[in-house]
Structures are given as structure tokens and as C-alpha cells.
């Protein structure tokens, strides 16, 4: 596995732990379909949360949040519907969260969490 993929994997694991600590229940990880991939699917109460995790080593090429553009956001909302359809689940309350992980390799990685991004 290449270094950048490893970094992403680690970030996603950290984010999943982080979300569980926030009281969410992780129901799926790295779900793929033809349209793309969902990093984390979780439940917070009766709300279905589709979380996108962005991991960077530093801020040299911008903040991880800046890498989530309008197109990506629209795809995440579409994927949330696809996931529900694939699992024959009706989730009237859905939202998309974004988690950023900055892992410089020294000390603890920094996590930030944006809820309900539209």
C-alpha cells in the first residue's frame, strides 16, 4: 500500500473512533458503488450520517476542508440515497458530515468535524 493511501486509511480509522466517541454508531465503512465511495456511514439517533474524511499531512496545499468542493458535496448527497436504496432502508433524516484529519506524523493528529454540510 502506498504512503498516501496508508495516510488516508489511518485518517478514516481515527475519524471513525472520533465519531463513535461523539455517540454515533458506525454502520458501514468504505462502501462503494459505481458512483463513488462513502468513507463512513453512521447513525446518530435516528439520523443517517454520511461522513467524508479528508486527511492531510500539513496545510501546505490548503486545508482538507478546501478539498471538498461543490461537486464532491453533491455526489455525497447522491451516494447517501444510493446507500439507502442498496440496503433497502428508508432514512428520512440524512445528513452529510465532513471530518478533517491533519496528521503531521509528530504528536497527536488534529481532527475537525463539520456537521450537516450542504
Amino acid at each position: 500500500m502506498r504512503a498516501k493511501d496508508l495516510l488516508g486509511r489511518n485518517g478514516e480509522a481515527l475519524a471513525a473512533d472520533f465519531l463513535e466517541n461523539q455517540g454515533m454508531r458506525i454502520v458501514d465503512r468504505n462502501w462503494r458503488c459505481a458512483d463513488g465511495e462513502i468513507d463512513i456511514v453512521a447513525l446518530e439517533g435516528d439520523t443517517l450520517v454520511v461522513a467524508e474524511v479528508k486527511t492531510r499531512r500539513s496545510l501546505d496545499y490548503g486545508h482538507p476542508f478546501e478539498a471538498v468542493g461543490a461537486a464532491k458535496l453533491a455526489r455525497l448527497h447522491r451516494l447517501a440515497s444510493s446507500w439507502c436504496r442498496a440496503h433497502q432502508l428508508n432514512a428520512p433524516r440524512r445528513r452529510v458530515d465532513v471530518v478533517s484529519v491533519i496528521d503531521s506524523g509528530v504528536g497527536h493528529p488534529q481532527l475537525e468535524h463539520l456537521r450537516g454540510v450542504v
Binding site: H63, F65, L73, L114, V117, V118
Partner: protein
């Protein structure tokens, strides 16, 4: 975190309005939105601000930034809002301490330097009037901004230094960055350029007329063949005019601050301006105009100075007639889609014209190839109502060989300007009670009322009026000129001689 607030000024013509800038940082993905009718230059502020803040060591929040310019309905233009938006955003992110009622007017460079903007003088005037005397500008604008009485102006070179003074954490600030300053033009630049009256050979009558025009603020029409020196004479008129008083100088500097593309005024413009547009100029170029909000035209740039229209009959008739309104009211009100702007335009009008389209009708006019019809049409372009407002109408002949040989012994500008100043002071003393400054402004009612001359003095005028060779309006104009001649001659009121000379200045051009 929360909402940050700062202040700026939006200019509509010469009138400025305080604009409140509020910035909010939302908890969502990074974005930057500017609300409140920004134009293209103002919308580009987002990119300038991000880079400038980053390079100053005080990066903007990586969240959704919303900047709102209030009142939202007022169209806002240009780059002068950069700094105010930046400060509001930094305040919203708690990067700097309280801003209070400080007004920020400057453009940002990508490296974090503060750049000057135009129209700083009227903007600062408006700000002080609205009760916001604390103003931060780019260092290159500081001298101009400080011309406004009552303004507490601070000039900064970089955003880093400004942020430091407003309590930003100095740890990462680029305080050492010192961009090179802007060039400040030398005072000598403008002073030495003015042409001197001693360059004009002969032309005693025309020189005298020019002196009278300068002393009384009279509008003037010069006719004569090409090469007679009409343009030379007109160019020397501003040199004869006295320096501008404080309020007038402020108005003139404000207009030129707005009209200038870049350079910033360092001191008040004390010399009367001279505008010499080409005769192909459109109405918008002379009166003011342009898309969106109108900019001042040549007539406004000539405010408190001289507007010289060379080859006046070559101008479009509607351009010339558009000047009638400012000649009457001293102001130009221009309406455009984005708003209405009023610019002052109290100028002294000097018209120059050839005697006919071919220009050879001078003297006996034997070489002239123009038909009588062509000549009439030529002068017909200068409409009657416009000529009605021109007190001095003078015919200038080609200079004779005798006068040309004698050149070098003519009076220079300084000598004549001295007499003009003395005459202006006499007028000021006399007309102060009427709220006027020069003889050219005195209404006919006053001339024939409080300033009435004894019947013996005005006899030739009364006779001419009776015979119908002089109109009632012409009568008043002769009186105005006679007063100016008396002021130049240090008399308390005009005598028969002054009236006679005044008649001469009026009728010299009547032959053509």
C-alpha cells in the same frame, strides 16, 4: 467567533456614504461571499484579501466567510473596500481586538501591502461629516486624507503593521516586510509648467481683455485668424487668476482626486485648473458620464478654473448647449443607471473661433473662399443663449511686424496677476454684502439697483438702448465689464471712460 464589524465609505459622485461592513464566519465548508451590490473589482477582493492575509501572517479562517456591505441597496464600486472587509473578517475570527468606529479605505496588494485608491479626499470628507473621524488609509494616501480638517488619519504600509496595532498576535505577523513607497510628485512639477504672458508679442488689446476677464471672472470669446495667438492667450489666463481659497481648493482637489487614475494629491490644489478638451469631445466627455456611476467631465475638472474650447464652432452643437446649465447654476447633475451624481462646475469659459471655416476672412478677407452662408452656419453653431452669457467678445488680429520685433519687452504674468489680485480684493470688499465674489456674478437687478451709476455716466448706454443697438442683457454685461475696469483702475465706481472701454470689449467681435 461571531460577527465582526468595520466601516468604509462608498462614493456616489462627490458625495460619500458610510458603509458598514459586517462579516460572519459560518461553521461549514470554506467559501467567501460578498453581499451588497459589489461590482467586479469589489468581487475580486476575495482573492486579494485571502492572499494578502496569508502573506501577512494572519491567514483568514478556513470556514465560510460572509461579508455584508450595508446599506445593501447602495451600489459599491472599486477596490477601496478591501481593507474594511479584511478587518471585519479578522475581527469576526477574533484575530484582532476591537475596531470601534474606525473607517478603513485602502486596496490590498497580494503581498499584504496597502495600496492607495482614488477619491480619498471626498471619501474622508464624507466620513468626518458623518461623525467617523478615525480613518485608516494606505500610507500613499495619508497626506491627501490629512488635508481634511478634523480627520484623525493614520497611514499604514502593510496589513501586518495595521493588524499589529489592532492587537493581533505578533508571533507570525510579517512585521519586517517593508514594500517600497509610492512616488510622490514634486511641487515644482506643476509650478514651472505654466506659460508666461511675456511670451505673447504685441496684442495690447487682447492682453488687456485677458486681464479684465481674469479680474472679473468674465467669460470670453476670442475670434481671429489662425496664428493670431488665441490659444496662447487662453493658456495664459489661469496664471493670472489668484490662488484658490480654502473651500474652493478643497472642492477642486476632491474632483481631481476622483478623476485621477492613480496619483494621490499630497497637498491642496491651490492653482486654478485649466481644461483644454479637443473639439471632437462628446457631451459625456465634457459634462461627465460613463457607464454605471458617472465620472466628472472636463467641465467639472475645470471647476474654479478655466474651461478653454478651442475651435468652438467645431464642437457639436449639443455639447456646447449642454454647458448652459453649469454656466447658470455652477453645478452638473448627471443621471445614470447606477445613480445620480452631482459635480460642481463653476468654471470660466473661454471660447476661441476662426472668423470663418477657411480661417482667411481676417483683415480685408480677400483670400477667404467661404460663402456668406458658410460663415453664418459656422458661427450659428455657437447658439445665441450661450453667447448671451459671454461678457467679453474680442477680435484678435494677426500680430504686426512692428510688435513682433518688439517682443521681449512685454509685461509678464506676475505683474498682471498683481493687478488682478488687487481688483479681486476690491470686488470682494464691495460684493461681500451680496454674497458674491466677482463682477461677472452680479445679477442685473443689483447692477441697476444698489450699484446704480449716475445717469451722466451711463448716457451712451442709455442712448444705445434707446436706438436698439444694445439689448437689455447687453446693457447689463457692459455694466459688469465697466465695474471690473474700474476695479483694475482703482476707481470706486466706473466713469464714462470705463463704460466706453467696456463697450469696446463687447462689440469688437460684432463685425464678424
Amino acid at each position: 467567533m461571531g460577527v465582526g464589524r468595520s466601516y468604509c465609505v462608498a462614493l456616489v459622485g462627490l458625495n460619500g456614504y458610510i458603509v458598514e461592513v459586517e462579516a460572519d464566519i459560518g461553521q461549514t465548508l470554506p467559501n467567501f461571499v460578498i453581499l451588497g451590490l459589489p461590482d467586479a473589482a469589489l468581487n475580486e477582493a476575495k482573492e486579494r484579501i485571502r492572499s494578502a492575509a496569508q502573506n501577512s501572517g494572519i491567514p483568514l479562517s478556513r470556514r465560510k466567510i460572509t461579508a455584508n456591505l450595508i446599506p445593501a441597496s447602495l451600489p459599491k464600486r472599486g477596490s477601496g473596500f478591501d481593507l474594511a472587509i479584511t478587518m471585519a473578517v479578522l475581527r469576526a475570527a477574533d484575530d484582532i481586538q476591537s475596531i470601534g468606529g474606525t473607517v478603513f479605505i485602502a486596496e490590498l496588494g497580494l503581498d499584504g501591502r496597502l495600496r492607495p485608491v482614488r477619491g480619498i479626499l471626498p471619501a474622508v470628507m464624507a466620513s468626518v461629516q458623518a461623525g467617523y473621524p478615525d480613518i485608516v488609509v494606505a500610507e500613499a494616501n495619508a497626506a491627501e486624507a490629512a488635508l481634511v480638517p478634523g480627520a484623525n488619519v493614520r497611514g499604514y504600509k502593510t496589513l501586518a503593521r495595521l493588524a499589529f496595532d489592532f492587537g493581533a498576535d505578533p508571533k507570525d505577523l510579517a512585521l519586517d516586510y517593508d514594500p517600497p513607497g509610492e512616488d510622490v510628485p514634486d511641487e515644482a512639477d506643476t509650478a514651472t509648467l505654466a506659460p508666461d504672458l511675456c511670451d505673447v508679442s504685441g496684442q495690447g488689446e487682447a492682453r488687456r481683455a485677458l486681464e479684465v476677464a481674469a479680474a472679473g471672472g468674465h467669460h470670453m470669446l476670442l475670434t481671429g485668424p489662425p496664428g493670431a495667438g488665441k490659444t496662447m492667450l487662453a493658456e495664459r489666463l489661469p496664471g493670472l487668476l489668484p490662488d484658490l481659497a480654502d473651500t474652493a481648493a478643497m472642492e477642486v482637489t476632491a474632483i481631481h482626486s476622483l478623476a485621477a487614475v492613480q496619483s494621490s494629491a499630497v497637498r491642496l490644489l491651490r492653482r486654478p485648473p485649466f481644461e483644454n478638451p479637443h473639439h471632437s469631445a462628446t457631451a459625456a466627455a465634457i459634462i461627465g458620464g460613463g457607464s454605471g456611476l458617472p465620472r466628472p467631465g472636463a467641465a467639472s475638472r475645470a471647476h474654479r478654473g478655466v474651461l478653454f474650447l478651442d475651435e468652438a464652432p467645431e464642437y457639436e452643437r449639443r455639447v456646447l448647449d449642454a454647458l448652459r446649465q453649469p454656466l447658470e447654476s455652477g453645478e452638473l447633475v448627471i443621471h445614470r443607471s447606477a445613480g445620480t451624481a452631482a459635480y460642481p462646475a463653476r468654471f470660466q469659459l473661454i471660447l476661441a473661433a476662426n472668423p470663418c471655416p477657411c480661417g482667411k476672412a481676417a483683415g480685408k478677407g480677400t483670400e477667404c473662399t467661404c460663402t456668406a452662408m458658410m460663415r453664418r452656419r459656422y458661427f450659428g453653431r455657437i447658439s445665441g443663449p450661450l453667447l448671451d452669457r459671454v461678457d467679453i467678445q474680442l477680435h484678435v488680429e494677426r500680430v504686426s511686424l512692428a510688435d513682433f520685433g518688439n517682443s521681449g519687452r512685454e509685461e509678464d504674468t506676475a505683474t498682471v496677476a498683481g493687478r488682478v489680485l488687487a481688483a479681486r480684493l476690491r470686488q470682494f470688499q464691495r460684493l461681500r454684502t451680496f454674497g458674491l465674489e466677482t463682477n461677472s456674478q452680479v445679477p442685473g437687478r443689483t447692477l441697476r439697483g444698489q450699484l446704480r451709476l449716475p445717469p451722466g455716466t451711463t448716457r451712451i448706454l442709455d442712448t444705445a438702448l434707446e436706438r436698439g443697438t444694445l439689448t437689455a442683457r447687453g446693457y447689463d454685461r457692459v455694466l459688469r465689464l465697466a465695474w471690473t475696469l474700474a476695479d483694475l483702475g482703482r476707481s470706486d465706481s466706473p466713469d464714462i471712460d470705463h463704460i466706453g472701454q467696456a463697450l469696446g470689449l463687447r462689440q469688437a467681435a460684432a463685425a464678424t
